[in-house]
């Protein structure tokens, strides 16, 4: 990797040289985080909507636990997944430890509570407004779910972004279950940690700038989508 004393210059050089190592790292970062967010959404959206619509004993407990898990330290999540996937662990036979799949699992654990919990809030608010009308139209609670999720879509994009932010920024979990193996499980955040510990601060900072730029780009796209939708939908 090219290096200079100026982190901005380093970042620019990295990008301009289309460094293949850098490209691999960036693309793995994005893949792991996006897949984790997508899989967390697959579970978290219906889970959040269900929590918003159904009253059952222990519901408040579930909500409190989910809210608390939003603040789960990534290293703890990483450790739990590590124990699960390590050779001696219950899923050790799958041989997933130190693979991108393990990193996806760890980030999924971190992102799921965020998506489920924030989705519950969004859907619950919308349900307050829609409930009588949908009930009058003869919809069962189960059939209200897709309608409410779809009508909450503008707010849910922000929920996804919060999840993606969590996934792309964390380092503890992917470090533990991925191992920061060059060319296999090295991602942006783990590279930054490595370069920092090697004392290669400009490179670390350059990588940080690229990471920040990427996250900003994705947020900008989502924001534009949301604004367009808001203007179109009222």
């Amino acid at each position: 990797m090219p290096a200079s004393d100026n982190p901005f210059l380093t970042a620019l050089q990295l990008i301009l040289h289309m460094d293949s190592d850098l490209f691999a790292i960036v693309s793995l970062s994005l893949q792991v985080s996006l897949v984790a967010v997508a899989l967390a959404a697959l579970v978290g959206l219906p889970l959040g909507a269900a929590l918003a619509l159904w009253r059952f004993p222990g519901r408040n407990g579930v909500i409190i636990v989910l809210n608390a898990l939003m603040g789960l330290p990534p290293v703890v999540a990483g450790l739990c997944v590590y124990l699960l996937l390590s050779r001696a662990g219950p899923l050790g036979e799958w041989g997933l430890l130190f693979s991108p799949t393990a990193m996806v699992v760890a980030q999924w654990v971190l992102v799921l509570p965020i998506i489920a919990s924030l989705t519950r809030q969004q859907v619950e608010a919308l349900h307050g407004e829609y409930a009588e009308q949908l009930q009058s139209l003869g919809l069962s609670t189960a059939r209200m779910m897709p309608t409410l999720l779809w009508d909450a879509r503008v707010g849910l994009v922000t929920v996804m972004l919060a999840g993606f932010g969590r996934a792309s920024a964390e380092v503890g979990a992917v470090m533990i279950v991925g191992g920061n193996i060059e060319g296999v499980t090295r991602v942006m955040t783990t590279s930054i940690v490595l370069e920092t510990s090697k004392g290669n601060l400009p490179l670390a900072l350059g990588l940080g700038i690229i990471l920040l730029a990427l996250v900003t780009l994705i947020n900008a796209l989502a924001h534009l989508m949301g604004e367009t939708a808001k203007r179109r939908l009222g």
Binding site: E129, E132, Q133, S136, D151, L233, G234
Partner: protein
Amino acid sequence: MNAPFPTQTPIADLQLDNVSFEHRGQSLLAHTSLTLSGCRRTVIMGPNGAGKSLLMRLAHGLLPPTSGQVRWQGKTPVQAMVFQRPVLLRRSALDNLTYVLAIHNVPRARRKADALQALATFGLTSLAHRPARVLSGGEQQRLALARAWLLNPDVLFLDEATSALDPAAIKAVEDAVMTFHASGTRIVMTTHDLHQAQRLADDVVFLHNGQLREHSPAETFFSAPRSSEGRAFIQGELVW
């Protein structure tokens, strides 16, 4: 589906049997017995807080009564309700209509044509692709009526459907009510507008303080109300 045709079989009677509703220990509707039958236009009247909207929600089945029974004497009819503030989905006017057709299992191929027809019936054709929630209050209420129209209801409930509208929009809603009625739909509506009640009512249910005071034919209620509260109400002496 396009135009509700006069129902062949008579619409089942709606019977409220000694219905009460309490909320947090407070009685909001007490021991109300009432039968609504035929293809009539029933207007529920009373001052604010009398329990009009509550009675309507109990009748429509949106709320269960605390005690007593709400039942249809025969086959439960198709019902629709138009609310004071229309709740429209965050999609285009047209999509709001195809949505109700979809949830009522109308074949996909027919939905758009049916929806466009309903939009035309309520003078909304030019607004088909506008987002429903940026329409004016009157347009939104007409869209809500078009949505109810597509359900082809036997009974249509309207809860203060015109109270936030200007005179032209009020007229449009009242015309729509007459269109529904002409096609064989029983109308049950609440209003606190005396003139509107006089224009629309076949019979009047008068509530006061969560109690049913009288249920009379419109001409009786407006000329010689049987209850003293009813008399005070139509003379403009607000009773609380």
